[in-house]
């Protein structure tokens, strides 16, 4: 493969050329209710070429690796159609490396029958409750090697092994349908999906309890978010805005996003770190061959740096951060988060609760979205806080905030910490789901708008 790729790189001239080839295989299993809806193992091979000529980019994706040299020519030809200026790329070291995946148990060594039995076991736990109408247990693993080479002389092969499972319980009484969901997924290995029996029980009870939970009343609330929801909050409320490809050509926005500007109180620090062992968003090198790193987006309340590709870094005179990530071989690298989290401080959850006479306690996450100005995020589970104590369970809680205001409203940051990956992921510019981990401590946010009837 190395020889094929290196030869193809010489097929045409461009200001910059890169080739990625991805070989992989994977397993998916899905139980929905009593039925095994899907069980399959699949293979894939594909590649792409990206060429830069006078500031224009040509990108070609394909499955017929044997014609790699032709694709290099095509990418250069496409780029040439556009080029009439320059587009500098920030320098990175020339690297040759083979990065092997490190996992506790390699899922490839586990027989399909064993993976199937595991899903069946989880599924049976969920279905054993009378009020559970149906379930969904999805397992997936994938192993891939991505070969990267560029015209500057780098050649990097990175192996990635991802493994995860998601669990869903649906309870129903008449037209009242309630769901509870859990998911794990990251680069740790097969061990990660074992021993989730208690989680299955938990979502089963939660779905049933939700049948009799009260829909939240819309309004302004003080919200305590658990570490997982705090991660989604950090990701949506600020992470996306720190991706430089949104701001780097926008003068107006750059004024708003000037480094050194205050975005939160002194206690607030938000970090993106692509180097954390085993986490879902981890890679040693990004899809442009830049080493990943730990980047403070906000440090002590102040905007400190942003996430870059080689292109955005060059344009802004900053350094690449190893955040140019492509979902797969059919996509070009764009600026993405990796593992994003808020740093813990000194509040205990007990103290936070005692100090909150009235509010909502929100746990785990169903999802989040941002338009770079406002964002929404929703917990998997929510309870009313009354007189500093957890009270009744709530349902249908979706929170919203404003990117430019809500970070200032965080007034307590916990002393605990958790990062979470999962089978879902982040979506941007049609590239979904990209594996990421999000996390943080418990936090308290004032004046959050909660939708409701």
């Amino acid at each position: 493969m190395e020889e094929l790729i290196k030869r193809a790189l010489r097929a045409a001239k461009a200001d910059y050329l890169e080739i990625r080839v991805q070989e992989g295989s994977g397993t998916t299993i899905n139980y929905t209710g009593k039925e095994l809806e899907a069980i399959s193992e699949s293979d894939s091979i594909g590649g792409c070429v990206r060429a830069l000529v006078k500031g224009g980019w040509g990108f070609v994706a394909f499955n017929d690796i044997e014609n790699l040299s032709d694709h290099v020519l095509a990418a250069v030809e496409q780029a040439t159609m556009l080029g009439n200026s320059t587009r500098p790329l920030a320098p990175i070291p020339v690297t040759t490396e083979y990065v092997k995946a490190r996992v506790d148990i390699d899922p490839r060594g586990v027989p399909l029958s064993e993976k199937h039995s595991l899903c069946q076991k989880y599924n049976n736990i969920i279905l054993s409750s009378k009020l559970i109408q149906t379930s969904s247990v999805s397992y997936m693993d994938s192993r891939g090697v991505t070969y990267f080479a560029n015209s500057e002389g780098s050649f990097i092969a990175q192996e990635t092994i991802f493994c995860g499972v998601s669990l869903l319980a649906i309870a129903k009484e008449g037209a009242n349908v309630q769901r509870a969901f859990e998911s794990v997924g990251d680069l740790r290995g097969y061990q990660n999906v074992l021993g989730l029996e208690a989680k299955c029980e938990e979502i089963t009870h939660r779905a049933v309890d939700l049948l009799h939970a009260k829909p939240v009343e819309g309004g302004l609330y003080t919200v305590i978010a658990d570490p997982i929801l705090c991660g989604v909050f950090a990701h949506e409320a600020f992470g996306h805005l720190s991706e430089a490809d949104f701001t780097y050509e926008n003068k107006k926005l750059l004024e708003v996003m000037q480094l050194g500007k205050r975005f939160g109180r002194d206690e607030l620090s938000i970090v993106d770190d692509g180097t954390m062992s085993g986490e879902a968003g981890t890679n040693k090198y990004d899809s442009e061959g830049t080493p990943t790193q730990k980047t403070y987006l906000i440090k002590n309340g102040i905007l400190t740096s942003r996430l870059h590709s080689r292109e955005t870094a060059a344009k802004m005179g900053e350094r690449p951060t190893g955040n140019a990530r492509a979902l797969g071989y059919t996509n070009e690298p764009i600026v993405r988060m990796s593992n994003t989290f808020m740093e813990p401080r000194d509040w205990t959850l007990e103290r936070m609760l005692e100090d909150t006479p009235d509010g909502i306690y929100c746990k785990e996450a169903l999802g989040g979205q941002t338009n770079m100005e406002m964002f929404t995020f929703s917990p998997a589970e929510a309870f009313r806080i009354r007189n500093g104590k957890l009270a009744e369970r709530l349902r249908d809680v979706v929170l919203t905030g404003n990117v430019f205001e809500t970070l200032m409203n965080i007034d307590a940051i916990g002393n605990d910490f958790k990062l979470h990956g999962g089978l879902g992921g982040c979506g941007k510019a049609g590239q979904f789901p990209l594996r990421v981990s999000d996390g943080g401590p418990h936090i308290r946010i004032r004046n959050i708008v909660v939708g409701g009837r």
């Binding site: 193992e41 994706a61 017929d64 399909l112 037209a175 819309g218 059919t330 249908d396 708008v449 939708g451």
Partner: protein, 433 residues
């Protein structure tokens, strides 16, 4: 012998029935970012899926690596050891609906023209305000799908798609506005300038930001925003969720569940519509299926296996790509228009909101019909006039209840994605902020 035929032959040596799906596609897109021409993308992708029935059980595998066909068969066989009991037979009839999904003009559409259209749209936008940041994408593609099975079915179909979309971001001192519009079809589209003008009008309206108090307000959803309200119905009518007992619409066929002016179809047989197909992903002829007729629930949507389990027939909604097995899904969703123009709806409202884009759809309990979304782009209506942008507000409700509180249905449907829908006007929905 082509590789898909070879795989079918290999599979039939070990299984009693088999089906091969082969897809290949070539697409090209031109994109502008931050007002500048940036990328030409070319994707030529192919792949194959094999579904077998062995010992009465279903097995499946897929690959994009066509160098080793035996591996595909081997993996499908391994999966069949555990697979679900097959409740269907592969169809033998080579029949399909005569719907048009291929347009040679798309194939011939020149890259240069895509570039000049993009430039024209961006120049138009920048002539209004030089601070606007435009992203434009013009894409076209041609695809081929061949489906063959052990019952003798063997159908190949070519299709095309063409799309043009533009997003404009306007950053201000405090915050920003982001508006997107686009068109896509299986024949050539030409609406980039129209989309641009629509956005410019909305950006003009958004210049002024206005406050609105919480409460129950009359709300209009534009055709672009109506998709949010259709997903609970799409899920509720999904045969798979019906078979699992999870749909809230189970046992309600023939019952009036919505306003009697509401009629909604699933229709894959509309010429050149984005979600159209002559036959579904397992060879069943495409047909139009009413979901709601005058507010009465008429049908659920099925693929072969789910229909088999429910002792009914497939509705031709077995939708898939080569890398997955068919599952019931919608094609094009058509909401039959009503009699009120959007302008007249606005005039009709003393104090309310026009909603055009939302944030956070799908984060609620969609299956139960719940929605709770941020009004990403919405305008306050005062005494029949749009007076400015509303932001930092949530709107929430239950779709199945809201469908019984319709004030009016728009008379001018538009295509957004696979939906052909008019504006919907509700007498009262909850707004919080």
């Amino acid at each position: 012998m082509r590789v898909e035929e070879k795989i079918l032959e290999l599979a039939l040596k070990v299984a009693e029935a088999a089906e091969v799906i082969y897809e290949e596609g070539e697409s090209r897109s031109v994109s502008f970012e931050h007002n500048k021409l940036k990328y030409i993308h070319n994707k030529s992708i192919r792949g194959m899926g094999l579904r077998i029935i062995k010992g009465g059980r279903i097995g499946f595998s897929s690959t994009t690596d066509l160098r080793a066909p035996e591996r595909l068969v081997e993996k499908a066989v391994r999966s069949a050891q555990f697979g679900q009991e097959a409740k269907f037979e592969f169809p033998s009839l080579n029949t399909f609906s005569e719907v048009k999904i291929f347009d040679k003009n798309v194939v011939d559409f020149p890259t240069e023209k895509a570039i000049s259209l993009g430039k024209e749209a961006i120049n138009k936008a920048l002539s209004v305000c030089p601070d606007y940041q435009c992203t434009v994408e013009v894409g076209k593609g041609i695809g081929m799908r061949r489906l063959l099975n052990s019952k003798g079915l063997d159908i190949s179909k070519n299709s095309t798609f063409h799309s043009m979309g533009i997003d404009i971001v306007h950053a201000k001192e405090k915050g920003l506005v982001w508006v997107g519009e686009g068109e896509n079809s299986r024949k050539t589209v030409d609406g980039l300038m129209r989309s641009t003008e629509k956005i410019l009008e909305k950006l003009r309206l958004a210049e002024r930001e206005v406050k609105v108090n919480s409460g129950l307000l009359p709300i209009i959803f534009t055709p672009k925003a109506v998709g949010l309200l259709l997903s609970p119905l799409e899920m509720g009518c999904n045969g798979k969720l019906v078979q699992k007992g999870a749909s809230p619409l189970i046992g309600r066929l023939g019952e009036k569940i919505a306003d009697e002016r509401l009629t909604i179809y699933d229709d894959p047989t509309i010429d050149f519509a984005p979600g159209s197909y002559p036959l579904d992903g397992e060879g069943v002829k495409a047909r139009c299926t009413p979901l709601l007729e005058r507010g009465v629930l008429k049908n659920y949507l099925f693929d072969l296996q789910t229909a088999g389990m429910m002792s009914t027939r497939s509705t031709g909604n077995g939708i898939r790509g080569f890398s997955s097995q068919p599952a019931p899904s919608c094609s094009n969703i058509i909401v039959v228009p009503g009699d009120m123009k959007l302008e007249d709806m606005i005039k009709d409202i003393k104090h309310g909101i026009l909603v055009d884009q939302v944030l956070g759809g799908g984060q609620s309990n969609t299956l139960a019909g719940e929605f709770s979304v941020n009004i990403d782009l919405g305008f306050l209506i005062e005494k029949g006039e749009l007076i400015g942008r509303v932001k930092d507000r949530m709107i929430a409700g239950n779709v199945f209840e809201a469908f019984n509180k319709l004030a009016a249905i728009g008379s001018q449907p538009e295509w957004y994605g696979d939906n052909y829908v008019p504006a919907l006007y509700f007498s009262g929905l909850s707004v919080v902020g």
